[in-house]
């Protein structure tokens, strides 16, 4: 089985979010970048397929040279080859079109992406990619098995779960549940050393155009002061929730 894992390079979850250039650019100063958490679950599931069922695992990112440490980390975790499409990721559709070229060229059976990136939270790329390469698509995937050319997946729906089957090639938007938190691996020294020798192929972009563009970022309005209610005065809380917040 040939697996491709799509990795987006995102600010660590604890990052303070700031902007520069008149609030048009994300301020990367002092920000630690990581593999998007949803992609890390997917990558770890891909490693499971590799160990248990035999598979090759390529990882791909669309981004500038600054994203290389992030995909190197994926190599250190155990991916075989990394591909970087050498262009800035501007928007979901553009990224999906760039990934579609890599996906077609590689002839993958399974493409694992994340439910959403935690930076722009688009939730766009995996579905668009699937449609562009005419593959099946399963979103919010929390469990995935492959047997021959048939995949069985569990998808999270509002208020429950759905079990689905699909032929390959398949693209998934994955998340926690594909593997558990405790299954995630911190790369060890050997992995890091080996990653240095693994191929990181930089490929030219197809130059896909964008369909949307960021004009400006804004921070949320500062929060008003909290109203504290005494633990012995629950009636006051109920009154506030009813009459002031109109929430009950």
């Amino acid at each position: 089985m040939k697996i491709l894992v799509c990795i987006s390079h995102v600010p660590d979850t604890t990052s303070k979010i700031n902007f520069t250039e008149d609030d048009t650019k994300f301020d990367t100063n002092g920000v630690q970048f990581v593999i998007n958490p949803n992609d890390e679950f997917g990558l770890t599931r891909a490693m499971w397929f590799k160990e248990k069922q035999g598979a090759s695992v390529d990882v791909v990112t669309v981004g500038g040279k600054d994203t290389e440490p992030t995909i190197r980390k994926a190599l250190a975790i155990g991916a075989d080859t990394a591909i970087r499409v050498d262009t800035e990721a501007l928007e979901g559709f553009q990224v999906a079109k760039e990934l579609a070229k890599v996906a077609k060229d590689g002839g993958y059976d399974l493409i694992i992406a994340g439910r959403e990136s935690i930076d722009y939270n688009g939730g766009m790329v995996p579905g668009m990619l699937a449609k562009l390469i005419d593959a099946n698509f399963i979103n919010t995937c929390v469990s995935l098995e492959v047997d021959g050319d048939k995949a069985t997946a569990v998808r999270e729906i509002d208020g429950g779960k759905e079990t689905l089957t699909s032929s390959l090639p398949l693209v998934i938007g994955g998340q926690k549940g594909l593997v558990e938190e405790s299954d995630l691996k911190i790369p060890n020294m050997r992995g890091i050393m080996m990653a240095r020798k693994k191929p990181l192929n930089v490929v030219e972009p197809v130059g896909a155009n964008s369909q949307a563009s960021t004009k400006k970022f804004e921070k949320p309005a500062p929060k008003g002061d909290i109203k504290m209610v005494d633990a012995d005065n629950i009636d006051e809380l109920i009154d506030l929730l009813h009459n002031e917040a109109k929430a009950i």
């Binding site: 939730g123 208020g159 079990t163 960021t214 929060k223 209610v229 633990a231 917040a245």
Partner: protein, 322 residues
Amino acid sequence: MSILVYTETENGQLKKSAFEVASYAKAVADQLGEKAVAVTINAESTNELANYGIDKVLEVKNDKLAKFSADAYAETLKNAAKQEGSKVVVLSQSANAKYLAPLLAVDLEAGYASNVTELPQTDGGFTVKRTAFTNKAFNQTSIDTDVKIIGLSNNAFGLKENKSELEKIEFEAQVSDENFGINVESIDKNTDKVSIADAEIVVSGGRGLKGPENWGMIEELAEVLGAATACSKPVSDMGWRPHAEHVGQTGKPVASNLYIAIGISGAIQHLAGVSASKTKVVINNDDEAPFFKAADYGIVGDAFEVVPKLIEKLKEFKANNA
């Protein structure tokens, strides 16, 4: 030309979020001087759409669409948008809508903006405000294509009543076997509880509750309020609660009207995922818990004392306000 809106149903009934996206579509239609056209799939009745300003509804009745299929539903919406010459398509942010939206975007060669929180600015271009960085910021996004798809965040716009003359038209989905590459084998849905996505109120518990055996009062509080239950990440990691209840940056997003956090410290990753909620209440025995900085109302106290009292008082309140 028109504004197309996909109004979702659940067991044949229009969902509350359907009326919210309908309200939004009507406002966009007014802004652009167009008609608001809804699409429903296997809805028993569409009459209520006339309360939210919808001019026309395309009613799809098709047994093949009895179970949700992202591809087939996207195909149906594409055909509707083409027939109606729609320049803007409005969707909710339910799990199903998020699933089909990117497929529809490719089909319609449309720019898609998800998690939109306000009406578009349409003087000159077409710019929408959406959340980014898991609610830590907003992003003004210009959609530059001819056809635009908007995914409206739940509870961001609210319901706006608006009486209209509703024209009902039967619409053929025009789906083929090709749209069913994925088979739904089984659905396991908790039908007697509200889901986090649909809930107006969410009651959430953290590690401060000490163990799974103490969730009885959380369930009871949720029941009194008609709320969904949720939890912090460590709580689901330790198996005290199902994964589906994990909310936050790496769990489910919450955008409810009221979020009640009990025994949750308010770590940045937790806050990021729940801060889109309108009103936040914190119950924590540590007056320095970071959540107090992000909440609207707070009680410093032991959850095991405060929550039972709150349940009792709410029952009285509900009885008096019924």
